[in-house]
């Protein structure tokens, strides 16, 4: 089973040279720690920055420089700043190559739910609905099951939807899966020590297991 950092580390292997990438709050933010130095990529913060750098040192903390999770950040060389309207114009316009975000549920046709639990949690969707409606390539970081053991990879989402038919790939604590165009989760890799049978038993939606399923490898 993968911990949060390992999920982030596995997702980082999906990053390609030259990409502009939007990282969501939570596990997706950790992905930045595992992107190989030799790759030239630019991280977008939807509150108006291209070129997120590392967190600041104590002396460099700037209240006027935060990421979408409201954490203090720095800018890399060659950064640019812009308004929220410009930021979502580049998201909606399809200029961001890769979007990585968290999910509470994903359905077998690629629907995602991550913004609301009726009667319990009303924080709002933030930029998630804009991102999932327009992004070309969406990778979801999530836990395979809820704390009480129920699958979060479902036939249909039970929570209010954030976007429809938009998720391309999922990295959970148990497996890497691809959402097939005709529907269904195609099992690509399993976490170290996790059996195919366990993944089958913890996936409520249609899981396609084709041939030998390799165990994930980590380069470092």
């Amino acid at each position: 089973m993968l911990n949060k950092d390992q999920i982030a580390q596995r997702i980082a292997k999906e990053v390609k040279n030259g990409q502009y990438i939007n990282l969501g709050i939570g596990i997706p933010t950790l992905v930045a720690n595992y992107i190989p130095d030799e790759l030239e990529v630019v991280l977008q913060s939807e509150n108006g920055l291209l070129g997120i750098g590392p967190f600041p040192t104590e002396e460099n903390v700037d209240a006027d420089l935060i990421n979408a999770g409201k954490q203090t950040i720095t800018m890399v060389k060659g950064s640019s700043l812009f308004s929220s309207a410009e930021s979502f114009a580049m998201i909606r316009g399809g200029h961001v190559h890769l979007t990585i975000l968290g999910a509470m549920e994903v359905s077998e046709n690629g629907d995602i739910a991550n913004w609301k639990i009726p009667g319990k949690m009303v924080k709002g969707m933030g930029g998630a609905m804009d991102l999932v409606a327009s992004a070309k390539n969406i990778i979801v970081a999530m836990q395979h099951c809820s704390r009480d053991g129920r699958s979060k990879l479902l036939k249909e989402c039970s929570l209010p939807i954030t976007g429809i038919k938009c998720v391309n790939k999922i990295v959970s604590d148990l497996a890497v899966m691809e959402v097939l165009p005709e529907g269904g989760f195609k099992l690509l890799e399993r976490a170290p020590g996790v059996s195919v049978e366990e993944i089958v038993s913890k996936t409520e939606g249609r899981l396609v297991v084709d041939g030998e399923i390799p165990e994930m490898t980590f380069d470092n």
Partner: protein
């Protein structure tokens, strides 16, 4: 050049009354008009509609206006980090319209730019789409969103001049430029106010035409919500 300068926040917000529709710039606590919020808190007004990406935190920003029950309705994209907000919302005391962040930014932009409505893919197939016109363009579904305007837009900039030209700093720009254009009356508070002519016209983010009142702010706290340091 037309001089837009007013003395302070109290003078800038003097004619904001109950039931007004306000836009307030900022993302989280970054780039919020601290001085004007403090001045509003001193007034005995209520029934306000506030359009702002977030609703502050319990003891800072718009959160303080919620606590004083000055706000009837919030139009926002994300309202976490605020327990009082969540309480008022779940108990039905506060009306809330949650809209996708990009849609919020564009509705405000449209309001200032004379565009009554537009089509966006954000929210198709979700509860955001309920009651809205859906149309297909080139094989993809979009929903119609209307523009937003305000009686008063209250923005915060880094530098400004007496003609109302504004320059923002870092990610404190966020919603401020679009809101500046979408208010019937736009109030700008700045960290540094200079005479017209001292700012390089090449660097202006918000042209002065959108700003009716500007003042030199003071005592900025610039509170940080999630101070995060390199390990």
């Amino acid at each position: 050049m037309i001089n837009k300068t007013v003395k302070d926040a109290d003078e800038a917000i003097r004619d904001i009354t109950s039931n007004a529709v306000l836009m307030l710039g900022g993302f989280g606590l970054s780039g919020i008009p601290e001085n004007c919020i403090s001045a509003l808190l001193k007034k005995d007004i209520s029934g306000l509609t506030c359009i702002s990406n977030n609703a502050g935190v319990d003891d800072f920003g718009i959160g303080l206006m919620l606590k004083k029950r000055m706000v009837k309705k919030m139009i926002s994209s994300y309202v976490g980090e605020n327990a009082e907000f969540e309480r008022q919302l779940l108990s039905g005391e506060l009306e809330v319209e949650l809209i996708p962040q990009g849609t919020l930014a564009e509705r405000v932009r449209a309001g200032g730019a004379g565009i009554p409505a537009f089509f966006t893919p954000a929210g198709v197939g979700t509860e955001v789409a309920e009651g809205k016109e859906i149309r297909e363009f080139d094989g993809k579904l979009y929903l119609m969103e209307r523009c937003l305007k305000a009686d008063f837009s209250i923005v915060k900039a880094w530098k400004g001049d007496t003609a109302g030209n504004l320059i923002y700093k870092g990610t404190a720009r966020n919603f401020n430029p679009m809101m500046a254009a979408a208010g019937k009356i736009t109030i700008a508070e700045v960290e540094e106010l200079v005479p017209a002519g001292e700012l390089d016209p090449n660097t202006i983010h918000t042209p002065g035409i959108y700003v009716q009142r500007i003042f030199q702010g003071k005592d900025y706290e610039k509170r940080i919500e999630q101070k995060t340091i390199r390990k």
